[in-house]
């Protein structure tokens, strides 16, 4: 029997500006999380996410990026997952990012992430592996430089049942 599946957990809409966004107390009752980001920032910047306030150097990711200047791919090990890496947030063009976190509450696996980030002049696919078996209970969304998310930026977290 089919099961209703796709639940909105929380939405945050920026009023004025916000230096970062946090989703906390994420329930462990879903199988996957999907984070949808739509926004602009006060200046051009990469953007990233971090799980469980963990700033350890254990976020692996690779990107396939296509922007006006060319195509790029790289492997990075960092203290956060830069979901907007070559396709950066900006003050003028809205970025849309869809970040899928599979088996986020399973404690027998590292956490794996698939993301797609798009702007009017570029697109990138990324995969990330967070080298932790802890269930993800919080997500911090932030930027590389001293920027802020601007008025009207929207961040929505969904949960998928399995």
């Amino acid at each position: 029997m089919p099961t209703p599946t796709y639940d909105k957990i929380a939405t945050q809409t920026v009023s004025g500006s916000a230096t970062n966004i946090t989703f906390s107390s994420i329930p462990g009752t879903y199988r996957d999380l999907i984070l949808v980001c739509q926004g602009i920032t006060s200046t051009t910047t990469q953007a990233w996410i971090r799980f469980n306030n963990d700033s350890s150097n254990i976020y692996n990711f690779t990107n396939a990026s296509a922007i006006a200047a060319g195509t790029y791919s790289a492997f990075v090990l960092a203290t956060q997952f830069r979901f907007a890496n070559r396709v950066e947030f900006s003050a003028s063009e809205r970025v849309i990012a869809i970040i899928q976190i599979l088996d986020y509450a399973q404690t027998d696996k590292h956490k794996v992430v698939l993301s797609r980030t798009s702007r009017n002049d570029g697109s990138e696919l990324q995969t990330s592996r967070y080298e932790s078996t802890s269930a993800i209970s919080s997500i911090l969304i932030d930027q590389e430089v001293s920027a802020s998310f601007s008025d009207g930026s929207v961040f929505t977290l969904y949960g998928l049942v399995s």
Binding site: P2, T3, P4, T5, Y6, D7, K8, R31, D32, I34, V36, Q38, N60, F61, T62, N63, A64, T71, Y72, S73, A74, F75, I96, I98, Q100, L102, D103, Q106, D108, K109, H110, V112, V113, L114, R116, L125, Q126, T127, S128, R129, T133, T156, Y158, L160, V161, S162
Partner: protein, 194 residues
């Protein structure tokens, strides 16, 4: 009109259960090893209700002679050379594409094998099957990635099954390894026609 599936469109889905158009149909989670995964009776059970299907997979296989092991998908138990597949691969600092026709299956991804990868390294795959029950050739697209000890990649694959029959069976299997291992998860979702 159903919302198109997948990573390109999840922003359009959502909402509470009362308005859900995207529903879980079946899940298989392995507690031991298994050579292949089959979802069957699909057209009978879902053909009149769902327009598109999505597979959400977390996989790892028992291959021991390499770090990665492709995952294959077949329809209606057809192992003839009736499939085409094309992939965009990003990793090791470069982008590349591969493709071939007259194949016996569609690739979904390179996948974590047990050889050099820690036991908790699995591969995420999200694959969309568009119009699986309609009388036209079937297409699949998948995004996936593997970040393991000897393989770093993000992949975008598409495939075609040159058959107009409604899909009744989906089979997933490793290319090289004998089995999927414990902990693998295979979930099938559907997007409603109306």
């Amino acid at each position: 009109m159903p919302i198109p599936l997948g990573v390109l469109a999840v922003a359009g889905a959502g909402g509470g259960a009362a308005t859900s158009a995207f529903e879980l149909l079946e899940t298989q989670t392995l507690s031991g090893t298994q050579a292949s995964i089959t979802f069957s009776n699909l057209n009978t059970n879902y053909g009149s209700t769902y327009q598109h299907l999505q597979l959400r997979l977390v996989t790892r296989t028992s291959r021991t002679d390499a770090d990665s092991d492709p995952i294959l998908i077949r329809f209606n138990s057809d192992s003839g050379n009736n499939y085409a597949r094309h992939g965009l691969r990003a990793g090791f600092g470069s982008l590349s594409s591969v493709g071939s026709t007259a194949q016996s299956a569609i690739f979904l991804t390179e996948n974590s094998a047990v050889n050099k990868n820690a036991s908790n390294i699995f591969t995420p795959i999200v694959a969309d099957l568009l119009n699986p029950f309609e009388d036209r050739q079937k297409t699949v697209r998948a995004i996936s990635g593997l970040l393991a000890s000897g393989w770093y990649g993000t992949e975008l694959w598409s495939g075609n099954w040159a058959n107009t029959s409604a899909i009744t069976t989906i089979t997933l299997l490793p290319l090289i390894g004998a089995n999927f291992v414990a902990g693998c998860r295979f979930s099938l979702y559907g997007t409603r026609i109306t």
